[in-house]
């Protein structure tokens, strides 16, 4: 009898528990990252899973170089992951193709006031006509990095937020000294896209339908960059750069300034011994405007996903969960959530072992940031741009010629991609 009762109880318990206990929903999440980034996202997923025991995230991490191929194959096969890591510099391409679900209904349902929660730039750059294709969770911006020691040695005041490109050039000249392999340069890093933008010029129209690079403002910027190398000789040539790249030159004290991204901070903190800091990019002396680049990584939901609700939970958590956003802040990323990004806690505290730096320079850059036109499937445009800029910086082609050629080739590419 006793035995029978035990068996009966166990049976009832089993039945009840199987009714009450539903297996967690599984969602697939595809993302990119180098070893550290993959670990970084892993930690974010873990925080999410702890708070959502009913959702299990299947990780599909990829090396950055393979991500496009993997995602394109998944989308073509009609079997993409539920949640897709995306970047605002895709310019809404995937959304236009119908690959992403519109997040607007989810945002409305959860009453998220996006314009209050985030800067308008990342949100706007994640909208393609009619739909919101992603929510940003981490921002990456640019600033001017400078070596304090070299500035002091040259008897120069540190750069500040009022600097124009004239001040920049002046300092670059004074910071340059020596000869040969040991030469110290004023500038050791200047992305060509910043040269195109620095005086208000542009590479493409804002709707990405036309290449407009062949204009006086862009030309002036590219000429400026070329002059840094050949006229003022304050920046290494391409050959010298190959001998020693931007990062190494700067971190070993062989360069006074470089324009670089927020993601270089973590590496520099460990690699550089001289004191250094960052400041906002210099301004165009005529208009007092500055043009840093800003990328926003976000999450989107695959339009054919069968678990959109669970997928939305992950999207929402990455972008708005304070714990996840604080985790990003703690690890020297710029959180997309404004309240966390602007909090003194973020601006004034630094990862263990890190020296304090002017974090605000990166955060401030978001307000007037621009979007680089070579992301996603505009990759081909980027290859064409690099090809021409290489020749300019090698002194094999004039900026005029290069921009003219790029405009012709680039417009062919855009015509094909937007047909």
């Amino acid at each position: 009898m006793k035995k029978f009762l035990v068996v009966l109880c166990l049976g009832v318990m089993f039945l009840v528990s199987s009714v009450l206990y539903a297996a967690p929903v599984e969602i697939r999440y595809i993302y990119w990252g180098n070893t550290e980034e993959l670990q970084f996202r892993e930690e974010m997923i873990k925080i999410f899973e702890q708070k959502h025991p009913d959702i299990k995230v299947i990780r599909e991490g990829n090396p950055p170089a393979e991500y496009d191929r993997k995602l394109t194959a998944q989308l073509t096969a009609g079997n993409a992951a539920d949640v897709i890591n995306m970047c605002n510099d895709w310019w809404g391409q995937r959304g236009r193709q119908g690959a992403f679900a519109d997040l607007t209904p989810f945002v409305k349902k959860d009453k998220l006031d996006l314009m209050k929660l985030f800067w308008s730039f990342p949100i706007k750059s994640m909208q393609s006509p009619g739909i919101l294709e992603g929510l940003p969770y981490i921002l990456k911006t640019q600033a001017l990095f400078y070596n304090k020691k070299l500035f002091e040695e040259a008897g120069l005041a540190y750069p500040n937020d009022n600097w124009t490109w004239d001040n920049f050039l002046e300092a670059a000249i004074k910071l340059t000294k020596g000869e040969g392999a040991q030469k110290q340069y004023g500038v050791v890093g200047f992305p060509t896209i910043n040269a195109a933008w620095m005086f208000g010029g542009d590479v493409t129209s804002s709707n990405m339908k036309l290449v407009v690079a062949n204009n006086p403002k862009t030309l002036k910027g590219i000429q400026f960059l070329r002059d840094l190398i050949f006229k003022y000789k304050v920046m290494p040539t391409i050959a010298e750069f190959q001998a020693m790249g931007t990062g190494v030159r700067f971190s070993t004290g062989k360069g006074g300034m470089m324009i670089d991204y927020s993601w270089s901070i973590a590496w520099l903190q460990q690699a550089m011994h001289d004191p250094w800091d960052v400041v906002q990019l210099p301004m165009d002396p005529a208009t007092k405007k500055r043009y840093p680049e800003c990328r926003a990584d976000g999450l989107a939901i695959y339009s054919q996903s069968k678990n959109k609700d669970a997928a939305w939970e992950l999207v929402k958590a990455f972008a708005t969960d304070p714990d996840i956003q604080k985790y990003i802040a703690k690890n020297e990323g710029i959180p997309a959530l404004k309240s966390i990004a602007l909090s003194p806690e973020h601006l004034n505290t630094f990862k263990e072992g890190f020296k304090p730096y002017n974090k605000k320079a990166f955060v401030d850059a978001v307000s007037y940031a621009k979007l680089q036109p070579f992301g996603g499937y505009y990759n081909e445009l980027g290859t064409a741009w690099t090809r021409e800029m290489d020749l300019v910086l090698l002194g094999k082609e004039s900026p005029e010629e290069a921009l003219k050629k790029f405009q012709t080739v680039g417009n062919d590419i855009l015509k094909r991609l937007t047909k």
């Binding site: 394109t72 050959a239 010298e240 190959q242 001998a243 990759n379 290489d390 090698l394 094999k396």
Partner: protein, 301 residues
């Protein structure tokens, strides 16, 4: 009767054991090849997420008549092939002749010279980036010591391709080994007879070694041509086709079209054009072989 039975059992085993490879060939080689013919006649921009659209020969027409980069990449590839193949053959032959001496410890040298051929392509490419480093590389260090000009190598449009050609000699060990095998297959009686007739070193090489080795040279030449037209890894790792378009070789451009820009139809058409080019060149070499390749058993009229 008995024989046939055994044969049929053997044949069953044969088909059974060969089937994984045969199926693999059908599914993973033959089918994609056939498929790529069709894809090459479509407009398939995979990224735009639209189905392939049949456009006939338009991809081929665009490549041949509207694509400047196609011709640049073709020119670069020919440059590379005409530089690296003869140079590689000559060096491999010289090495093989040296290593064919009967000396103590010669096997150690053979191993040493073959060693580079077994190292992974990516590692080698990265190594050569340093060797060619304009400021800190060993090549320029030596040139500077000799008072010679030091080019920018991979960063100079004029020197980037020569650099890649020089680098291709790194893998010379493979053809060297085949030459060595060819040399050892030449009967020593020929040399002995020639010596009795008073032949000197050069005459022996010119009238015995070279003709006897011609089938090996032929083989290495064909493999060299095919290999050089398919060059990819070194360029991909070392220059990505730059500076400008100086090292944009054919397969790299094909790869960019297929896996960076996802123009699958276009890339497939490129692959077929490459196939035709390699096939033509190989056939030309085979045709020409009647004039310069000698086989031991062959009777010339």
């Amino acid at each position: 009767m008995h024989k046939k039975k055994i044969f049929s059992r053997e044949s069953v085993y044969f088909h059974f054991f060969i089937s994984p490879w045969f199926l693999g060939f059908l599914i993973f080689t033959l089918w994609p090849i056939i498929q790529s013919i069709y894809i090459s006649s479509t407009d398939w921009e995979m990224q735009l997420n639209v189905a392939p659209k049949f456009i006939g020969m338009a991809n081929y027409k665009n490549l041949l008549f509207n694509d400047e980069l196609f011709w640049i990449s073709l020119k670069n590839t020919f440059y590379y092939a005409f530089g690296s193949v003869p140079l590689g053959l000559i060096l491999a032959l010289i090495l093989a002749l040296l290593l064919n001496q009967k000396l103590r410890g010669i096997t150690i040298f053979r191993t040493i010279f073959y060693l580079p051929s077994v190292i992974s392509g990516v590692a080698v490419a990265l190594l050569w980036v340093w060797i060619f480093n304009p400021q800190f590389g060993i090549v320029n260090a030596i040139l500077a010591k000799l008072g010679l000009p030091t080019p920018g190598w991979l960063t100079d449009p004029a020197w980037a391709m020569p650099a890649l050609i020089i680098m291709s000699l790194w893998g010379v060990g493979g053809s060297m080994l085949i030459f060595l095998a060819g040399l050892q297959g030449i009967p020593t009686e020929f040399y002995e007879a020639a010596e009795i007739d008073g032949a000197k070193l050069w005459a022996k090489f010119r009238y015995i070694t070279l003709p006897m080795l011609s089938p090996t040279i032929f083989f290495n030449l064909v493999m060299g041509i095919i290999g050089s037209f398919q060059i990819f890894t070194n360029v991909y790792i070392m220059t990505s086709g730059g500076p400008g378009t100086a090292t944009l070789v054919y397969v790299l451009y094909l790869f960019q079209n297929a896996f960076l820009y996802f123009k699958m139809g276009y890339a497939s058409a490129m692959a077929w054009i490459l196939f035709v080019i390699i096939l033509t060149l190989t056939l030309l070499v085979i045709k020409s072989s009647a004039f310069w390749v000698y086989y031991e058993t062959e009777v010339k009229r």
